[in-house]
């Protein structure tokens, strides 16, 4: 299958004093077209940084990121759900969702429909005209998700999108996301701290260790999705990833 995201010997560094703080180096991560990849790892390892460099928000220090999303003027090639909701406080909820629609080539009526559809999807139908300050933290996070889905991206980068939500809402949105992913053939790179979520959603789980960040391990989840929530196989897989993460953390603490 063709790769839609491919990093080649990617390094990212932040300027620090007179030198550079290298977050990771020689990182080779790829996502295939239509694949759902989840990324777990130690806090501070560089997961958000990886998403930001893939979204071309920060430049690579070395290496490159190759994206292969088909050109389509009616959608954006790539969109991101940020770890913090990051809504523009001076835009009403509806205008926040349409932030990415400004530059794409669809009629105004379709844009309006997309705003309504995504609001409904995240359970906030009718909230268009509220200001962000009138929302709870979890509601803001859901608007951040709606904003990314509204542009119908080929590649969806999600940075702990469900972290701030209650268990019921989270489960509901996980299933909605799976449905959208299957219907619209998106490719998704999804960061989470919740290993069950990673194993439930992903075709493949990547485990990122740190100092410097590198892929410690990857797990192919060969369990049918409708078998996932409670089957023996699923639980074994979750335990395996948990053990891997614990080992990575022990290593991280040992060396740091």
């Amino acid at each position: 299958m063709a790769k839609i995201i491919e990093t080649q010997d990617l390094a990212v560094a932040f300027a620090e004093g007179d030198g550079h703080n290298i977050i990771f180096r020689h990182l080779n991560v790829s996502v295939e077209k239509g694949e759902f990849v989840t990324l777990v790892g130690v806090s501070g390892a560089g997961k958000s940084t990886l998403l930001r460099v893939i979204a071309d928000l920060i430049p690579p220090y070395e290496g490159s990121v190759k994206l292969d999303a088909a050109h389509d003027p009616t959608r954006r090639p790539i969109a991101m759900v940020f770890q913090a909701a990051l809504l523009m406080p001076w835009r009403k909820v509806g205008d926040n969702i349409s932030l990415g629609l400004d530059g794409i080539d669809v009629p105004a009526a379709v844009k309006k429909e997309r705003v309504e559809w995504t609001l409904e999807l995240v359970g906030l139908a009718g909230y268009e005209d509220r200001w962000p300050y009138q929302l709870s933290g979890g509601q803001r996070q859901r608007i951040g998700i709606a904003r990314a889905l509204a542009v119908d991206p080929a590649i969806l980068l999600m940075d702990e999108p469900f972290g701030a939500l209650d268990a019921i809402t989270r489960t509901g949105l996980q299933d909605e996301l799976l449905r959208i992913w299957q219907e619209t053939h998106k490719s998704i790179l999804f960061v989470t701290h919740d290993i069950e979520e990673a194993v439930y959603l992903g075709d493949r789980v990547l485990l990122l260790g740190d100092k410097p960040a590198h892929i410690v391990n990857e797990y192919h989840i060969n369990v049918d999705r409708d078998q996932r929530r409670e089957s023996e196989q699923f639980l074994l897989m979750v335990d395996e990833v948990k053990a891997g993460l614990l080992a990575a953390m022990a290593l991280s603490n040992g060396s740091g």
Partner: protein, 250 residues
Amino acid sequence: MKSSTRYFLSAVGLVGFLLIWEGIARSGLFATYLLPPPSTIPAALISEIREGIWQVMVVASLRHYSVGFVLGSVLGVGLGVMVALFPRIEAGQAWLARVLRPIPPLAWIPFAIIWFGITETAAAFIISIGIFWINYFTAMGAVQAVDKDLIEVARAFGHRSFPALLRKVILPGAAPGILSGLRAGLGQGWMTVVAAELFGIQGIGQRMIEASGLLASNVVILYMFSIALLYGVSDYVFVLVQKRILAWQR
């Protein structure tokens, strides 16, 4: 505190102040020209209006105040925003601003006269200086404080050109700061308006000097209150507009 209680106490404070003043002024301790009782001010107002002086002076002051305000605000906000956006310009102005800023607006009076003569332009120029610096520094600070994460969000959703970022994030994000700078300038302008008129430009300040020369101190106080009133009204209107623009704030 209930807002009705608040209004009541504010009114008590002001009326109490006027009553004490009236009492002291009438006690005979001081000559009337040293401390005229406030009850003589309405009569002064009526006579100034009848003679057509009050309107002329207020309009004249308002005219160069407005020109100075617009000039100082536009230049101050414009340059302040520019400086904040371009690190090279920021570095270029750093020492220059330190040298020029401490010079009080009134210290520019000699040059204002040399350059513009005894004209309204000279007064507007002096008024604009204080307003300029306030807006320059608040606009610069406001732009520098715009949340970098929101700029990243805008870029992630396709707004990558500089004008787009300016319009979608930087200016709206800096708006609260810029507006509070404009409001501070609104008050600062009235403080220099009188001084800017002392050297003979028609307006409230000039009339006050004239009246004090005639020992008509109730006329002086009348114009002091006129300034307070003009400032109060302009500030009130400004706050209404500001609340509208910043409706998105909690």
